[in-house]
């Protein structure tokens, strides 16, 4: 087995406050104005992208921060979707309770997988989590009494007291709020001692142990948190979607999130967010080119890995810096 890390992230870059602030303000304006200025379809795409942002944040925690190559992300997402939808149907409480339930169930499974995964590293961890993800998809498709199996599950509308959410535009403020909440949570985790211990484990487990960090605990918790965030994204899914089918919860989805995180820039939260938005948009735009979309998608992946593996933003940052200062 190799001791080279499976993934080491881009070095941290200090934000340049000027352009970043402008960018953030612009993003805020777009975010607020969206449902007013555009059609329900655009808002639907925005809702989907916001869910992908949260999924990427979850993957960031386990791969970007802690360096554990987990390929089971879609499974936790699916657990969150089903658990929150079933809870929403069963009990007449406000929807956020169901969302929390979904996140907790997913998180619990994540802790369990994290414990099982303690002995594994790198490629073996990736393959084991991949196998778990496929097994979970099989469970979604075959546990007829709970998930309705291959027929898929209808998701009842989300209720917040007297408000019932019946359209994308209605759901959007809530989806946006929860996404911002998750971004805040991820940033907070990243800056906390827990986050530092994650990164220490990623850099070198031996050194981390020497510094007194409980490596096993850190690894298990990172899995649990990552799964809980993915499960929460599942709850967000139920805010505006009315149906879930096991076909959407397999390796394809996990790979999509992984490529979003890597293309955005592995190890940076901004990268995870940016990757989600950029790649999510690319994926929806490729629907317009049915004949070539697989080829284009694959080519994009290959080109990024060849020339911009550190991620889109690092690549753009480097080019801007080069343009300013010359080679």
């Amino acid at each position: 087995m190799s001791s080279t890390p499976l993934a080491s992230p881009a070095p941290a870059r200090r934000a340049r406050s000027g352009p970043v602030l402008v960018g953030l303000v612009a993003a805020a304006i777009v975010a607020v104005a969206l449902p007013v200025l555009t059609s329900g379809y655009v808002v639907y795409i925005a809702n989907l992208l916001l869910v992908f942002v949260v999924l990427c944040l979850g993957l960031h925690i386990v791969i970007g921060e802690t360096g554990q190559f987990s390929m089971a992300h879609a499974a936790f997402y699916g657990i969150g979707i089903y658990a929150s939808a079933l809870a929403n149907r069963a009990v007449d409480l406000p929807y956020p309770v169901a969302m929390l339930f979904g996140a907790l169930v997913a998180g619990a499974v994540g802790l369990f997988i994290g414990a099982l995964a303690l002995r594994m590293r790198d490629i073996y961890l990736a393959l084991a989590t991949f196998a778990f993800g496929e097994a979970m998809q099989w469970v979604f498709a075959n546990w007829d009494s709970v998930t309705n199996g291959p027929n898929g599950l209808r998701i009842s509308p989300a209720r917040f007291g007297p408000i019932e959410i019946l359209s994308d535009k209605q759901a959007y403020p809530f989806v946006l709020f929860f996404c911002l909440l998750m971004i805040g949570l991820t940033v907070a985790i990243s800056r906390s001692r827990l986050g530092r211990s994650f990164r220490a484990v990623r850099e070198s487990e031996v050194a981390a142990m020497a510094m007194g960090i409980d490596v096993r605990r850190a690894r298990i918790i990172s899995f649990g948190l990552s799964a809980a965030v993915a499960g929460f994204a599942g709850g967000m899914f139920g805010l505006f979607q009315t149906f879930i089918h096991p076909d959407s919860l397999g390796f394809q989805t996990t790979i999509l999130v992984l490529t979003m995180v890597v293309v955005g820039g592995l190890g940076s939260i901004a990268g995870a967010i940016g990757g989600a938005i950029v790649f999510g948009l690319i994926s929806e735009m490729l629907r317009q080119a049915p004949q070539y979309q697989e080829i284009i998608y694959g080519a994009i992946l290959i080109l990024f890995m060849m020339y911009a593996p550190r991620g889109l933003f690092v690549f753009i940052g480097d080019r801007i810096r080069e343009a300013r200062h010359g080679r």
Binding site: G40, Y41, R154, L166, F243, S248
Partner: protein, 402 residues
């Protein structure tokens, strides 16, 4: 301007506005055109189920336009790729309804995926006619807005297969091989009533559509000593099972459902003529693919898409399935009169009953019936000749609210 001209101008403007207002409440309709949103799998692994079906619907609409349109309005269509999965189908539908503001939807070849759009279509009150999806999950219980199963209702497939085996071969013990997906669940459900009435025992094996080695399911089937095998699978697993049956010397009747017939000629090539000695296949079209009764459709395709028709594998086998759906849409628009609204179109659909000339049975909707086609016929195929058998087979399954 003189007073007369002004008055005339104002009156004209007013009457146009009033007339337009009646129609303008409805999205997607002007006095020149009606906008239809078409979607289907135009890419990806399930492209063969929808790419040419969409083309068939388009060419039918083009033909209607050439003949003058519907009450003076031309059909304008926008096409989206649904990639045969729930998320993309919903995105396609929302784009068509919200961005393109279509009057009604005509799309969907993948049954599990179309169910995902059900709630949205109903909430937004958009008339939705499926293309060739069976879509039973969205048709039962019936809604006011969704009409489908122009190809065949999967509930009918299962029952018809059992009924045929019982009536044609007097089978009392039948092996039923289906898939562990939505289709499989529906067609198995549909088979139960007919099995009960005919006193037929079903030995069921549900396999994954991606299966590579069919040894295990086939052995179990053989051990049950059935009088006939009902293959309610897609084309590839069906071919693998027929081959395996031949290898193991199984010589009782093998009956393939309509879901498994991608191309009978290709099947014969794939399994060899020796495997088809006691082989029957279910069909929903009025003639075998390429037969005389369907020639006008194939000629229409060649004229509309000469470049595609020159390529191998085109038109794809399911191409004619686009016609009954498009016909139904056009008929509903015609019956809704010169000032159609969505409500009028829906009312017209609910009483539709016509012979498409493409499907063996009539397309029939009813006040509570949203699945158009429930009739199938059977053909004996020995690798070279197709011999249709007499009789139209359907299923006794009826919807029970849970």
């Amino acid at each position: 301007m003189s007073m007369n001209k002004t008055a005339a101008g104002v009156t004209l403007a007013a009457s146009l506005l009033i007339g337009a207002a009646a129609v303008a409440q409805e999205p997607g309709i002007t006095d020149k055109a009606i906008k239809i949103g078409i979607f289907g799998p135009l890419s990806g692994p399930n492209m063969a189920y929808g790419f040419d079906v969409v083309n068939a619907a388009k060419m039918y609409y083009d033909k209607i336009n050439k003949e003058g349109g519907i009450h003076g309005r031309k059909i304008e269509y926008v096409v989206e790729d649904d990639r045969c999965n729930a998320n993309d189908l919903v995105a396609a539908v929302k784009k068509l309804v919200e961005q393109e503001n279509v009057f009604m939807l005509n799309g969907g070849s993948c049954s599990a995926a179309v169910v995902a759009a059900k709630d949205y279509v109903v909430r937004n009150k958009v008339p939705y006619l499926m293309l060739n999806a069976s879509g039973d999950g969205a048709l039962f219980p019936p809604t006011d807005y969704i009409f489908g199963a122009y190809s065949i209702s999967q509930y009918a497939v299962g029952g018809a297969m059992v009924e045929f085996a019982a009536k044609q071969f007097g089978a009392k013990n039948v092996a039923y091989i289906n898939h562990d997906d939505a289709y499989g669940a529906w067609n198995l459900e549909g088979s139960k009533k007919d099995a009960e009435v005919n006193g037929v025992k079903l030995s069921v094996e549900s396999i994954n559509p991606g299966i590579n080695d069919v040894t295990a399911p086939f052995l179990k089937i053989r051990a049950a000593n059935p009088d006939a095998i009902l293959l309610v699978t897609y084309a590839r697993p069906a071919a693998l099972l027929i081959k395996k049956a031949a290898e193991m010397g199984f010589n009782k009747p093998i009956i393939l459902s309509v879901t498994g017939t991608a191309s009978l000629n290709q099947l014969a090539e794939n399994v060899g003529k020796d495997a088809l000695k006691n082989f029957y296949t279910q069909e929903v079209m009025v003639d075998s693919p390429g037969g005389a009764k369907l020639k006008p459709i194939y000629d229409m395709y060649k004229a509309a898409y000469p470049d595609l028709a020159a390529k191998p594998d085109h038109p794809q086998t399911y191409m004619p399935y686009g016609i009954p759906s498009a016909m139904s849409l056009v008929k509903a628009l015609q019956d809704a009169g010169p000032n159609p609204t969505r409500e009028k179109v829906l009312a017209a659909l609910k009483t539709q009953d016509f012979d498409s000339g493409v499907m063996a049975g009539r397309m029939q909707f009813g006040p509570e019936q949203r699945a158009a086609n429930r009739s199938t016929i059977f053909i004996k195929y020995d690798g070279t000749t197709m011999s249709p058998l007499p009789g139209v087979f359907t299923s006794r399954w009826t919807y029970q609210a849970k």
